[in-house]
Amino acid sequence: MTDVTPADAPVPMRDADRSTAWRGTAAVLRRVGLDGRSLVIAIPFVWLFVFFLIPFLVVAKLSLSEPAIAIPPYLPIWEWDGLRLILNLNFENFAYLWSDALYVNAYVFSIRVAFVSALFALLIGYPMAYFIARSPEPRRTLLLTLVILPFWTSFLLRVYAWQGFLRSNGVINNFLIWTGIIDTPLVMLQTNFAVYLGIVYTYLPFMILPLYANLVKLEESLLEASSDLGGRPLATFFHVTLPLSTPGIIAGFMLVFIPAIGEFVIPELLGGPDTLMIGRVLWHEFFSNRDWPVASAVAIAMLVVLVVPIMILRAAQAKAEAD
């Protein structure tokens, strides 16, 4: 961690403002290859390495182990009998996921729900982001604050609010019966429709913010040039605005799509018993069945599904930063 380039080599320090004790310590640390700079890098690096990266290796290890009735409920994947290492790798968990239609269906269903929800969030979020970006100050700040405000209030409570809205004696049904549009309450809670709605609702700010950040940078002169050249508003939108906002669209889409795939709270509270999304399957495998190895295999398979979307997101964000 010490390959200091000339460009950011530390400026020589003045000895006067250093105590002898500190000088001694620094000298010792430098001898083992640790200067102040690498210590600064090491703090966040080591923390994330231990509590973010290693946990995935533990999950991978556990997904290859055999479940057991024990504490913790699995068998070790390696043993040392004094002479050699015995590996007990067990691929049964993955074979089980593949053979049981429940898991495969849950993956396919989760991807579909996340994709459709992200699409609707884009359709609702794009006009809002565009309107906010084109608003004059101080209205722009006010609208932006209004978009962020729900995000600061509890996610769980916002999902709960939709329970009150959607149930058969809920706000929407009461209103529709009162106005005479319907006679019998519509069944909306515990349906897939409620899950789509809940995801679009709770993740909408994640769509609007990157879109706004992109659209606000859009040069007014480009739009004027287009209209001066005779482009009608719609043509200007499709040929100038939309292509230029692609990085924002991709970032917003992925910020909704990726976490939505693993969503647990929304299908649990708004969906029916047969709304099997993969996050919910993992939760029940872990908490109800106490099958830690299968839960780990579910997590590894979910990560594999997420690798490509995460890479697309990183590319979009890098491009947005470069612009």
Partner: protein
Amino acid sequence: MRAGTVLLIFTILGFVFLYAPILSLIVFSFNESQLVTVWGGFSTKWYSALLEDPQILGSAWISLQVATISATFAVMFGTLAAYVLMRFRRFRTRAVLSVMITAPLVMPEVITGLSLLLLFVSMEQLIGWPAGRGMTTIIIAHITFSMAFVAVVVQSRLSSLDMSLEEAAMDLGARPVRVFFDVTIPVIAPALVAGWLLAFTLSLDDLVVASFVTGPGASTLPMVIFSKVRLGLSPEVNALATIIIAIVAFGVGVATWQMRRAARNAG
């Protein structure tokens, strides 16, 4: 109809969509009736019931402690990560660090929760720490995911910052540590406050990760709310939601007012 009008209507509908459920939550917290969605007259009895519920009060206290401690550490670590990535141009572990600091932003909570729990269990077997699970393990988990959010906030502030101030201090012979504390920190202070508040909110809001890594006796507020909500609608939860929304609205209102005042003074 003009395109601008259509856009305006669309935006208004979007905000109705965002706020209608929250407003109904607030209205029905003042409902006399036990039925959360049928109006039975004005009452504040659910607020008194809430304040006498030891389960809610106890878990709220745990959540506040966890959120305060984890937000403070998340700001320190997240700021360091952001500073290192923005100001140290080249170092060997850069690519790994930049992946590790962005991945938690989109990682599904069930995966973060499960993987951290399995880590804690393995660590306990190997080195005997952490002995059992509870507040400490929740705090570690929350620091880990919220430092990523802090890093994003601080990074965007650092990138919009003119480096000449830091360079001037360096040219005048200030040590890097001194420059960081005397120049960089004061300039990015608003981002640090925003990052702390964000980390605090994320911690206070987290159900899934905490459920995985907690142990007996350490139930956070979202865990108690979730167990109540699972059994059906509860007017007490509406009252709690209203209090939280009031605090957040007040906080955001003050922050916006402060920022506008600062902007006016600067301009």
